[in-house]
Symmetry: D2
Subunit: 325 residues, 4 copies
């Protein structure tokens, strides 16, 4: 195996709070081990557009607390083609990178996996997405922060819901996965939750609307995952039609869920995983993701991380039913 002397780091896909903390950790760990580090702008696109710069220890100073990503992020169609990847590889050769750390979600890892197979360049993935939908790691960077952001927003909405005895439908992010909606629902004391994974929860929602809310006439919060079969907006229209007497409002939390200073937890795991990623490259690992399982750093083949579906904690679902009485 070729000795690692210079590595590149990029952030790709949807941005997540803590990506900067991970870039900082990768950079400093590399420097600590005598390596050079190159920051690549806008994900794989930076490799195609030769948009890179040297990262120093001071470049990443005071970065741990910042939302967004210094390296910027993008989705890159061209990298999905063989020509695109060839071009990226040529540039990597040109600037002499011996390894790559890619920070992102499953799209990022899919690209990384193919690229690493094709060109035999060592690549390590760090899972960073607010959706937490990566197999092989208990948590992804950004998930905890997004949850806290949602909880703060819903607490505010609860204030106004209580003041007016209103019913709120609140759509949260999470793509096809209900990780965000499930935990946000528990943490905000939601009266009902709608998840992509469990269609039977439509029945429970209906029960809540037809029985409990009718009886109590109290305020209510219903958390709807953006990936649910039935959309928040459609439920909203249905309720206003079937229950014109309900004072119902729709709130789509939107992109504020992606930003903000990372939580303590996300900063810590971003630091752990950034260190682990560089150390993985230094010990000849490749085509793997570094993740957190049972509070320990683990290594998972990139191909597993994207192929398998991570299961929702069913026990948490049960809790929603008990606590919303």
């Amino acid at each position: 195996m070729k000795e690692i002397k210079k590595i590149g780091v990029l952030t790709s896909g949807g941005d997540a709070p803590g990506m900067n903390a991970a870039v900082r950790a990768v950079t400093r760990t590399a420097i600590y081990n005598g390596l050079k580090v190159v920051g690549i702008h806008e994900g794989y696109q930076g490799l195609l557009q030769k948009d890179t710069f040297e990262l120093g220890s001071r470049t990443v100073g005071h970065l741990i607390q910042r939302g967004g990503t210094l390296l910027r992020s993008a989705r890159c169609k061209e990298f999905e083609t063989a020509e695109g990847r060839k071009k990226a590889y040529d540039y990597i050769q040109e600037i002499g990178l011996d390894g790559l750390v890619v920070i992102g979600g499953d799209g990022t890892f899919t690209g990384a996996s193919i690229f690493s197979d094709e060109y035999n360049i060592p690549v390590i993935g760090i899972p960073a997405t607010i959706d937490n939908d990566i197999f092989g790691t208990d948590a992804t960077i950004g998930f905890d922060t997004a949850l806290n952001t949602i909880v703060e927003a819903v607490d505010k909405i609860r204030d106004t819901a209580s003041a007016h005895n209103r019913l709120f439908l609140i759509e949260v992010m999470g793509r096809d996965a209900g990780f965000i909606a499930l935990r946000a629902g528990i943490a905000t004391g939601a009266e009902s939750i709608l998840l992509p994974e469990f269609e039977e929860y439509q029945t429970k929602l209906r029960e809540y609307l037809e029985q409990k809310h009718k009886r109590s006439k109290q305020n209510g919060i219903i958390i709807v995952s953006e990936g649910s079969k039935i959309k928040a907006y459609d439920i909203y229209k249905e309720i206003t039609k079937e229950h014109p007497e309900y004072d119902v409002r729709l709130s789509i939390l939107g992109h504020l869920q992606r930003g903000g200073s990372p939580s303590a937890y996300d900063r810590v795991i971003a630091s752990q995983l950034g260190v682990a990623a560089v150390e993985a490259l230094l010990t000849d690992r490749s085509n793997e993701m570094v993740g957190i399982r049972n509070n320990q750093v683990v290594y998972v083949p990139l191909s597993d991380s994207i192929k398998e579906d991570k299961a929702l904690n069913k026990n948490l679902l049960r809790i929603v039913d008990i606590l919303s009485i």
Copy 2:
């Protein structure tokens, strides 16, 4: 004039952070002056439904920091009728209220003004609405908190806008008035603002979209007041049609703008105005709003507070143009 021994207090209309701080101040000032205080639930509706309870000094303990309103709020159609007001007055006589403090916005004050004229019951209004659209007071309770909430949300959106070089249209509250949008625009460093009051800003927005954003390809934030002639959603559709190359997103902040723990400023003016309202009743004032002008408490006839239009600070508008270069 009849001596004041017992007063009622209610919150009405859209809720605003700091309403609770005002209820606390009214309650404690009344007790401090030897009066009894009755809390009325859900605005004028509580008078019609005889839904009231005694407020003690301890009832309002640890209330200053809470969003929403302990008294709950509602809009009340019946109180707009003469019969409704007669019923309310009868109940006021029944429980022996000698004066009323009403906390809310222009709808609340309109009802109060008519009621006070009809029944010669002393009424004092406290301006509380996040929209700041009440004439005769520099600030309304809740406005500062809502601004801070918006600023925090837009800062988060800026993180993700920067990460992806995206353009965001962000709709903020404020009804027909641009007070929120204007200050939120300055405070978030928005690239452009659309206000109900100034149609020419559509031209400026177009300039930004056609020229500056085209050139810079940087991230951008456009704050759109919900009362603007052209709606945020329509601008969004137009941009995606005319500039399919722009990466544009729409975010409607929604009801989270109404909630949350009140800011220091809102707690202080809520305290000042609550004290002033009770002292106004004790000095035989009626049919007036207590407001803040030039950092002093002032008294404004309720009829003025609802008739006149408060002007936007044009100087602030000029600042947006200068600082968004």
Copy 3:
């Protein structure tokens, strides 16, 4: 075993954010299962002073987001005596409690364990302390919130440290354990950390002060655990004496670390553990703590939870050294 029909719940020891969320979960789970629930004021003291009240589903509404504890907390000397415990038991008999859920830290569990042994009353403990120093559970309720509070405070201090190139010594809570200091240090990007568990870190601190800080003359943050052998104040005095040229400040974060609305994580585990505690009583468990290990609910004998020392994650320590270059 006697059938469980009525249970009591108390919070004891130092308060922690999320205690209210746990009380809510215990209450609603009990009601969900047809039990009656009695809230006991001020920990064990409430049993001695017969200060209890019935908890309903609505009593605990809108409680999940509140810091502090509705039940209040206290340390109770009298309960450490056999007479005290006898008195408590008599009252428990008097009001017909069939089981007890105690929410707190090791002091709370020590009392619970002795009491349960003496009187054969089923007792389940829920770990709630910001210090995270309970064996058998990965997390205690309040730890995550306290970390986030500290991180926000230190981020603010970092602003002013940077503005003036200052060195800050920041003392954080945690009693004899460095869990808070270690994670807070990583999450704030601290230049050095002093923990009770590792004396060699005094050497590292000295290195930082004598070499790195001397060279860089940059701002610096040193996190000192309150349980460290050498106190923050003494280090402060030493630095000002040995390095009068350094611009050094001391900040003792203090009790604000105990308060605030609980984080999403703390609300979720408080909900999980509250449900688990009641279900444990219903399945004839006693004298155990419900905890979280590897994201699953586990049961640990109370005696173990207080006897054993939980180890710090040494891997995290290594990270501090790497990332503070």
Copy 4:
């Protein structure tokens, strides 16, 4: 008068949130008007050490939301000497500055006033200090943010005070002035406040301690200004001696009060004052401070701003007494 083509900007004295927003506004207004702008590092020291750099429109992008100051700040002994000021002037000539904007408090303005008198260089001051102790302006940049920071911290302390029925002495900043303590006291619902300006409040504090707190045995918050004649620590010692039965704690909030992202209000006035400062230079004003009075920009001779004492709002003091019953 010489035409203004190039100006310098610096931040000096204690840092305050919003200084960056003011630097941004100065920079962009200058560029908008065709001027060049030079950033001076670490206050007047940067002039002596020739530590300056050109500020562009993009340099100050995404700066409005950041605490601290990009330009860093310092107190500079050498500038207090005639030689120091001569050296500064020579450098100003060397790099061709035609005017200076200084952002800071009274120390900053004192230096500016002497310097402008001696060398006939146009200087405009922008008031930025968390203490709000500048005559001629209703608000200084940073005051509102500091208040909000304190209010959030005290709300957290109130949680734990309530949980344990504790009494907290909380020392807040403000130097010789009670502006911070007075408003923080009202906004946190403090039971008592100690200010530098009113010695009689020691009597009120004593009354609270000897009578009200004795009676209620409830939690209590006492806000003590750091400039009070009797120090928070001494009161703490006295209470623990005279009332060993009280559960009393001391909390010195410290430097976290100086940091953090500026509030909406501080960002708006920083923007207004930054624009006004550059426009003042362009209209041949000098040796003045730009301030905010009655929501309008005003110009105040620098000599007045530092000579006169701004009065506390006595009406607010009265409110504390009424609302703490």
